[in-house]
């Protein structure tokens, strides 16, 4: 037996302060709010730091700082704004290892993913939008597109720094200023980013970071000084935001939940399809809005595919997120773990068959083994509700039309997967899927040049690519 010895990434590289204030107007400030919150390492439950939970007065201070910075930043030549963004991109590259470790500590995701996926994409995103800052006249939004003003941005905990990049890079490139609220369970990389803004000598107030939970977010999006709201998170909260913005002139983009179908046709490249299914649902512990959480497999190959999938899951390595060989890290919070457990129990109660590989679970921290449900019907909760965890629901289909019908039979429409070696079938299927991103013979690929966002209740607006500028410009 070839046992891989522990290969932990050193955490000495990160320097976490015991407590953090708010980053407003280029400075660390003490919040007026007295609420504090401890952020923990979900793999160990160890307290990492204490952060402020900003109140309305703190949010107001941040919005005012952003509003004050807006005339300066928006009037600056695009080429100069670009150079600030390029600087930020470089600083992120220089500090990539530190940021990857910090992300893994605060989020629980495997270091292999924060190192090889999150951080390279974060830097790439800033590089990409840096280049747009002085080329907006060529972007197809008129000869002199104008920024909107102050962008209030609220991001989730699944890709903390990457979501920050998706929000801040296009906003700044277009000439907006920003108040960003990171998720309450994963504030540390956003706070580290504040330090990067200082190292880049970004003008004060252009980026402001306020930490907190839902109330802080609500105060931000409802602040009358905010001209643009960008939110990534649950459909439930997205709905509340959309409702609360009714009657305002605030521009809104939403990137919300999903229940993506990953369709495997009988002529699929099977080994790669298995990898795609695994990557689709177990990447980032399934904490991915575009996760391929519903496997739709053609009945004629279902048995073979499931056998291969189970064999493959037997090789997955769950454990210490800082170990470079870990494939599945910790669930981000006790709350999320409870939700995953609740839905999994519902799956069993509704009659689906539950399977997990033999997989030792650490004693401390929040963990959930990779789980596959077979015999799932469209009516089961695990086939309809977003679980946001490492839980795959397997359904079968007989014909391409049935696959598409089942795939589209959801209020969501963020992403989908198609696996076939037949080009015409792939294009036929892709054209009928009501989803903003269709991965064929691949899954969970991201790139700053590629627009991302959903149909239906998965939200509106696009992030990435030329399309990603639209949400930050007055048309």
């Amino acid at each position: 037996m070839f046992e891989y010895a522990p290969a932990p990434e050193s955490r000495d590289i990160v320097d976490i302060r015991p407590s953090y204030g708010l980053f407003i107007n280029g400075e660390w400030v003490e919040p007026q709010s007295e609420a504090r919150h401890k952020t923990v390492n979900p793999a160990t439950e160890e307290v990492l730091a204490e952060v402020a939970w900003a109140g309305e007065a703190d949010v107001d201070r941040a919005v005012q700082a952003a509003a004050k910075a807006f005339p300066v930043w928006s009037a600056m030549p695009g080429a100069e704004r670009a150079k600030y963004l390029f600087r930020i991109a470089r600083l992120i590259q220089e500090r990539a290892r530190e940021l990857a470790v910090l992300e893994t500590l605060d989020n629980g995701k495997p270091i292999r993913e924060s190192r090889d996926v999150d951080l390279p994409l974060v830097a790439a995103h800033f590089f990409y939008y840096a280049g747009w800052a002085d080329k907006l006249a060529y972007a197809g939004f008129g000869p002199d597109p104008r920024p909107l003003g102050v962008a209030g941005q609220v991001i989730p905990w699944n890709f903390p720094l990457l979501m920050l990049a998706w929000k801040i890079a296009p906003a700044l490139a277009c000439g907006n200023t920003v108040v960003l609220k990171p998720a309450e369970t994963t504030p540390l990389t956003a706070l580290a980013f504040a330090d990067i803004c200082r190292q880049a000598d970004l003008p004060p107030g252009v980026v402001n970071i306020v930490t907190g939970a839902g109330e802080t977010g609500a105060a931000l999006v409802n602040h009358p000084g905010v001209d643009k709201v960008a939110f990534t998170g649950s459909t439930e909260v997205g709905r509340l935001i959309a409702r609360s913005l009714a009657g305002t002139r605030k521009k809104l983009t939403l990137e919300l939940g999903g229940k993506a179908a990953n369709i495997v046709f009988e002529d699929a490249p099977l080994d790669q399809a298995v990898e795609g299914v695994v990557n689709g649902i177990f990447f980032n512990q399934g904490h991915v809005c575009c996760a391929g959480s519903r496997l739709l497999v053609q009945e004629s190959i279902a048995a073979d595919l499931l056998e291969a999938l189970k064999r493959r899951l037997g090789t997955m390595r769950l454990g210490d997120p800082l170990d470079k060989n870990t494939d599945i890290g910790a669930i981000n919070s006790a709350e999320q773990l409870a939700k995953i457990r609740e839905l999994s129990e519902a799956g069993e109660a509704e009659g689906a068959e539950r399977w997990s590989p033999a997989c030792p679970i650490p004693d401390r921290g929040y963990w959930f083994p990779p789980t596959v449900f077979t015999g799932v019907a469209q009516s089961h909760r695990i086939a309809r509700e977003e679980i946001f965890g490492p839980v795959l629901s397997v359904l079968t289909f007989r014909t391409p039309a049935e696959a598409v019908e089942k795939a589209n039979n959801t209020p969501y429409g963020l992403s989908a997967g198609v696996w076939t070696e037949k080009g015409s079938l792939m294009l036929w299927t892709a054209s009928r899927l009501r989803a903003g991103v269709v991965w064929s013979n691949t899954f969970n690929r991201f790139d700053p040049t590629s627009p991302f966002g959903g149909y239906k209740e998965s939200g509106y607006g696009r992030e990435g690519g030329r399309h990603g500028l639209e949400g930050y410009l007055a048309l």
């Binding site: 037996m1 070839f2 046992e3 891989y4 010895a5 522990p6 290969a7 292999r112 090889d116 002529d267 699929a268 490249p269 099977l270 080994d271 790669q272 990898e275 795609g276 090789t315 470079k324 060989n325 070696e421 013979n441 691949t442």
Partner: protein
């Protein structure tokens, strides 16, 4: 002789239908999977274990026009005792030579347990008549080779004449008698991963004991993704027929880091059952010294220097 699935070779059309009915391989996906496995971090005790495992899997190879009995004897000495200064280093699995030098190698390795493999069938191009290929195989076996590394007829394969390729392998296997047959696919000339998968199955159905990537004379030689596809093939063949076939990447594997990546690939694709010299070999020459240097570094904590390792 009957081999599992031999009935699919009952006619050119059944063989073709079978091979073309195998699931396709998406190159980008296979490359990505191999690259991901290449990021596994094998350290400390695992690395020690991997290095000794890799040394014991090496087919120490010389396949030069300039090979002489002297060169073969020196290499054989190294095969038996890779590090003269350290008796704890295991011997390699086999040496691999041209047919006319088999007798020399057999004599040099007598009693050592290190096997003698011979290339055959008009290596490396395979461009000769079947009679010549069979005769060459028989002579090598008669000279004492216990393993034969044959090449397939890539021209016939690419022309779609799968039955010709099949029949040559069957005939060569017959000529091998008790010797193990490794079938070299020369994946660099097959060009696509779909072809690698088809050629792997073709060879296994025809009776191959091992499937091997390359002659070392064509670039690219062994790569991680090609080896991944072949490991999937032996895994699936085992599941379908119950017969276990080995895999040998050859050519271009020069560093300990490379070798460990291959071991990870085996471990997580075919599974730990294949992590043995009976089922996995590394066709290489310069790799051995790098393994020895890394081994010494792990033992002493100092980086090793090439002057302290023999060049045979």
């Amino acid at each position: 002789m009957t081999t599992p699935l031999a009935e699919v070779a009952s006619s050119p059309s059944t063989l073709r239908a079978f091979l073309h009915g195998l699931p396709g391989v998406d190159r980008v996906g296979a490359d990505a999977r191999a690259a991901m496995l290449g990021t596994r971090s094998i350290k400390t005790t695992a690395k020690k274990q991997a290095i000794d495992l890799a040394i014991g899997m090496v087919d120490l190879t010389t396949l030069e026009g300039a090979d002489t009995p002297g060169k073969i004897r020196a290499m054989c000495a190294k095969a038996v005792r890779p590090d003269p200064a350290d008796a704890s280093v295991p011997p390699v699995a086999a040496v691999c030579v041209y047919p006319d030098l088999v007798a020399t190698a057999v004599e040099a390795l007598a009693g050592s347990g290190v096997k003698v493999a011979s290339v055959a069938t008009s290596f490396p191009s395979g461009r000769s008549s079947l009679e010549v290929k069979v005769a060459e195989t028989s002579l090598a076996v008669a000279a004492g080779a216990s393993e034969i590394d044959m090449v397939i007829d890539r021209g016939a394969f690419l022309a779609g004449d799968y039955l010709k390729v099949y029949e040559e392998i069957v005939a060569t296997k017959h000529a091998c008698a008790d010797a193990h047959l490794k079938v070299i696919l020369e994946t660099g000339e097959l060009a696509t991963y779909d072809n690698v998968r088809r050629a792997s199955w073709l060879a296994m159905i025809a009776g191959a004991d091992f499937i091997k990537t390359s002659t070392g004379k064509v670039s690219p030689a062994a790569t991680l993704p090609v080896t991944l596809v072949m490991l999937e093939a032996v895994r699936d063949f085992m599941a379908a027929t119950g017969r276990k076939v080995g895999v040998k990447p050859a050519g271009g594997i020069r560093t300990t880091k490379d070798a460990i990546k291959y071991l990870v690939l085996v471990n997580e694709t075919a599974g730990p059952d294949w992590l043995h010299a009976d089922w996995f070999r590394l066709g290489a020459s310069s790799l051995l010294n790098d393994l020895l240097m890394q081994r010494q570094k792990m033992a002493t904590g100092r980086y090793a220097g090439p002057d302290y390792f023999t060049l045979d």
